[in-house]
Amino acid sequence: MKPAPFHYADPGTLEEVLAVLGQEGAKVLAGGQSLLPLLSMRLAAPATLVDINKVPGLDAVEATGDGVTVGALVRHNALLHDAAAARVQPLLARATANVAHPAIRNRGTTVGSIAHADPSGEMTSVLALTDGHVTVAMPSGRQTVGWRDFFVGPLETSISGPAVVTSAFFPALPPRSGTAFAEIARRKGDYAVCGAGVVVTLDAGGRVASVRAAYVSVGLTPEVHDLTDAVIGQPAESADWAAAGALARTLVDPDTDIHASADYRRLLVGVLTERTLVSAAAEAVGRTAA
């Protein structure tokens, strides 16, 4: 359980980072919470680790009326406790609270988790559900990539060549909307057997206008499912959330692993959808009344 030999670089500027990343087999190191175990188990053997922790300007959370920009060096724990970010997009803190354990949240980064593109990660689904995007720095300049184009497969993104994700942007929660996030794990802090994040938006009359959901550990890449049809036009307080859960179960295509069968995950998709929608709708009602 010792990594294969690798070179280590910790440049102080983004330009230098990109220059080193131009070398064959170079890989970005941010929080290291996924990468280092892979190295130790020799499941990954990059020629060079490019540590970006000395690059200035990547550690900020910026919350504006439009949304929240999370820099590449923002630790999960910082995002979890960022009150401004939580006001603009409450899903961020709610989901981050489910990321692993405090020790991992203290080192691991939100953007690193997204760039790792693990379908068991919370923040990939949150990026999708909020319809967010990432900003990628390349030698040719910066580029924004929407979540749909970014996630290609499990542990696989559309980014290639010398490139580093410098931030992720999560749009603000729309008006008259509420969110919730819940997951079920075998042990507290483990990767979820199944997780669910939802956004409910009401019309001016307090009736359901839109319901969207994204799941964790379900499917190979993040997907957003539109569940509006099950409950459209129903009063938020008495909508048939179970019907939305039932619809969700028909839309997902989970896998079986040693911890859960596909059928069990589908069951949980229904249960978590219903449970999260109840609390998201309550939040939406509160925000609509306000």
Binding site: M1, K2, P3, A4, P5, M41, R42, I184, R186, R187, K188, G189, D190, Y191, V193, I258, H259, A260, S261, D263, Y264, L267, L268, V271
Partner: protein, 806 residues
């Protein structure tokens, strides 16, 4: 008197050192040592056709590569069958490095030694071993079916057929008013100490002597094994167990291949060599336990009293049998628990599979035994519509029946005779502690919240403290320091505290003056090891006897000096004094000085014992039959094991939407005789319960059909966190053992034993469906609940009248 510490909750003296990182574990030793790494088999069953080391040779820092071809003499022979038994008719062990065939994923094939572990792994990665794959046997059922053989010459895969009976079971069953039969399964888990195994060896070429540090539970026997295998004289080998980060059974097995290969390389290379097991290695090349299939037939009367019990167990022992059939024997003999079983027959077929070896893991066959017996009790209660506690109560051995002979032969080759106990007392305390009669109210309250609630209980009797012996050495120095040594090892049990309490109490000295050393063959070369809840019973009593010997000698010497009768003296706070005459005293440290007549005054205190200071010239300085020094060595060797007992109850709540299982209450009543340190005993119970809950709800070894372990990491092997372990309510009962001077019984394993049985019972009570395979996870419970073929309990039919899914 502050020195009477026996029975007091003294804080563990070792904890401060261990918690702040001042422990000295295996990997803390020998920073400049060469490092060993292993090429291990990726196949569960294969012939080795070629080993090509060429690619590794140009790795800078490589020192040596060893394959089976490099093993000579005794090293080239199979590893020992540590515990032979006449019924172990087809024993097989591996070699230190695979000899042409591998029988499980993880078996060591090549050892690489390099300047550090990174480089050793780099080189190991470049060694190409070619294999011809052979058919793979995984699981007890595949082994029973024997479509393929693990070892060619054992076509039925049966290594041992262990059989015991106390009467003629078939007529007894035929004559029983009722009988029932069932089959159930229990899965594999493992010890999983936080520190894996590890070995460090240093060869002194000038002295031609070897010092080995090993993270072991049996340093004296590791020493003997190394001496035998490396063909060294015993006095040239010393083995030390440093701080050991947990054992739970896996480190009692020895010699592990690495315990021989690392010293072999150290001698050959003339340099220190170290191997520190990593977690993946621990999963695939150490040991597991627990998988069994159990077929039970029980006869009983209208009141639920058992008339006959017939049990057939298939026990998966993995690829080899280095530890003999100890685990099957324990299952067979501890199965009867606290009950009167008029006629009992047990057959355990111990079978080979292409998986990691099976050797004792805390509980060692008892959790399986308890699961068989206690689930039998549950089935009888269900069939007769009786309270599960009542059925148990009616079958209990009564306090008046001790000593109670179960007419079985235990793992130590000695009769299973329960020395003492009060099993009805345990059951009464348990019912009160868990409020057994309130379950229907709790069930209704839970139902109102959409939850299914159930309760279960399980009782056990645990044979602890088997022989053959342990020893203790106690020595008082002229400084007043009291050195205590015993040969068995410590893996976190708190021996530095509990053994010191015993000596402080027996000798009358402050505990601060007592220093305890365990597991160091330089200090105490005769020992057996730490296993089977035996350290307190065996070494505790041996140390007490040694301390009594020191006390007697101290009183004799002091009586001489003070010119009184030894019977008039007492020792307290390190002072020998005349009872009732304050001021007429002599410090114990002075007695120690005087005990060793001297020519040379090497320090101030020594002057008192030199030849011109002492004046009695009528006797030789050291009397005939006496010895210099205030020290004593003694041994404790029991006639047979002592039997501890206990009763656990679990209350579970099950979410009917997600089928998550929550243990909301866990109650323990525990009887280990006299208690040296109740805080340590409670800690042992807590740890045991954590592993019991783990085995019931979380842990399993997920082998696929090819013999690949799919969850060989802490990410996927679900050892519970503190967040998964319930709060534990404990009540104590003390029925002293009449077998040993201190009246104590073992406590180390008790907590783990009833977990699976009690939790299975509670889940079954909650869902009304038969639970016949453990552990159980939410996804499996979901499958069970929606499967129309799942057997419903009679209680469920009575409760609901329908049998519909709750």
């Amino acid at each position: 008197m502050t020195t009477k510490l026996f029975g007091e909750p003294v804080r563990r003296r070792e904890d401060a050192r261990l918690i702040v990182g001042k422990g000295r574990y295996l990997d803390d030793i020998g920073h400049s040592a060469l490092a060993a790494a292993f090429v291990r088999s990726p196949h569960a069953h294969a012939r080795i056709t070629d080993i090509d080391v060429e690619g590794a040779l140009d790795v800078e820092g490589l020192v040596a590569i060893y394959t089976y071809e490099d093993l000579h003499g005794a090293m080239a022979e199979p590893l020992p069958v540590l515990i032979p038994h006449p019924q172990l008719t087809a024993a097989r062990t591996g070699h230190p490095l695979a000899n042409g065939e591998v029988n499980h994923v993880g078996e060591a094939v090549v050892m690489v030694v390099a300047t550090d572990r990174y480089i050793a792994e780099d080189a190991a990665e470049r060694i190409v071993v070619s294999y011809e794959e052979l058919p793979v046997v995984v699981g007890v059922d595949a082994a029973r079916e024997a479509a393929h053989a693990v070892h060619d010459e054992i076509p039925d895969n049966v290594g041992a057929r262990h059989h015991q009976e106390t009467g003629d079971v078939e007529p007894a069953l035929a004559a029983s008013p009722h009988t029932l039969s069932f089959t159930q399964y229990i899965e594999r888990s493992a010890s999983m100490p936080m520190e894996g195994k590890g070995v460090h060896a240093r060869w002194d070429a000038d002295d031609r002597s070897l010092r080995v540090y090993s993270s072991t539970q049996a340093s004296t026997s590791v020493r003997a094994a190394i001496a035998a295998k490396l063909e060294l004289s015993l006095e040239k080998v010393e083995v030390v167990a440093p701080d050991v980060g947990g054992g739970f059974g896996v480190k009692i097995v020895h010699p592990w291949p690495e315990e021989l290969l690392v010293p072999m390389a150290a001698i050959a290379l003339g340099q220190e060599v170290k191997w520190s097991e990593d977690r993946r290695e621990h999963f695939i090349s150490s040991a597991h336990e627990r998988q069994q299939r159990q077929d039970v037939t029980v006869g009983y009367d209208d009141d639920g009293r058992i008339t006959a019990l017939d049990v057939h167990v298939w026990h998966d022992h993995g690829a080899y049998t280095p530890y003999g059939i100890i685990v099957p024997i324990i299952t067979a003999t501890q199965l009867v628990g606290p009950y009167v079983i008029p006629v009992y027959r047990v057959i355990v077929e111990s079978v080979y599979t292409n998986t990691v070896i099976v050797t004792p893991y805390r509980g060692a066959g008892r959790p399986q035994a308890c699961y068989a017996m206690e689930r039998t009790m549950d089935r009888i209660a269900d069939a007769l519509d009786l309270d599960r506690a009542v059925v148990r109560e009616r079958n209990l051995i009564q306090p008046s029946q001790f000593p109670y002979d179960q007419h079985l032969t235990f793992q130590d080759g000695r009769p299973v005779i329960y020395d003492s106990g009060d099993y009805p007392g345990l059951l009464d305390k348990l019912r009160a502690l868990v409020d057994w009669s309130s379950v229907e109210d709790l069930r209704a309250q839970a139902a109102a919240r959409g939850k299914l609630l159930g309760i279960g209980m399980a009782l056990y009797v645990e044979g602890t403290g088997p022989g053959p012996y342990e020893g203790g050495h106690v020595q008082v120095l002229g400084s007043g320091k009291v050195l205590v040594a015993t040969g068995l090892t410590s893996q976190g049990q708190g021996h530095e505290t509990s053994f010191a309490q015993i000596v402080a109490s027996e000798l009358g000295v402050p505990i601060e003056d007592v220093e305890v050393t365990t597991g160091d063959t330089r200090r105490f070369p005769y020992a057996v090891g730490t296993f089977a809840s035996r350290a307190a019973v065996m070494s505790g009593n041996a140390i007490a006897l040694a301390a009594r010997g020191v006390r007697e000698k101290a009183l004799r010497i002091a009586a001489d000096v003070l010119e009184v009768d030894p019977g008039d003296l007492e020792i307290d706070e390190g002072l020998v004094q005349v009872k009732g005459v304050p001021g007429t005293s002599i410090p114990l440290r002075t007695v120690a000085v005087l005990s060793n007549p001297l020519r040379y005054a090497f320090d101030e205190a020594a002057k008192q014992a030199t030849q011109f200071t002492t004046h009695d010239d009528t006797r030789p300085p050291v009397a005939e039959g006496d010895a210099p020094g205030l020290e004593h060595r003694d041994y404790y060797s029991p006639i047979r094991s002592t039997f501890a007992s206990g009763a656990h109850a679990a209350v579970v709540e099950i979410d009917t939407q997600t089928w998550e299982i929550d243990v909301v209450k866990y109650a323990v009543v525990h009887d280990c005789g006299n208690v040296v340190n109740p805080m340590i005993v409670e800690g042992q119970v807590h740890g045991g319960v954590a592993q019991g809950v783990a085995g019931a709800l979380y842990e399993r070894m997920a082998y696929d059909k090819d013999g690949q372990l799919q969850n060989a990491s802490f990410m996927d092997f679900l050892m519970p966190y503190a967040s998964e372990v319930p709060d534990i309510d404990i009540d104590h009962q003390q029925t002293p053992s009449p077998l040993n001077p201190l009246g104590i019984k073992g406590a180390g394993e008790a907590g783990v034993i009833p977990g699976t049985a009690a939790i299975a019972s509670a889940i079954e009570d909650a869902v009304g469906r038969r639970i016949a395979a453990m552990p159980i996870s939410p996804t499996e419970l979901y499958d069970l609940m929606r499967n129309d073929d799942t057997e419903l309990t009679e209680a469920h039919r009575r409760r609901s009248g329908t049998g519909a899914m709750a």
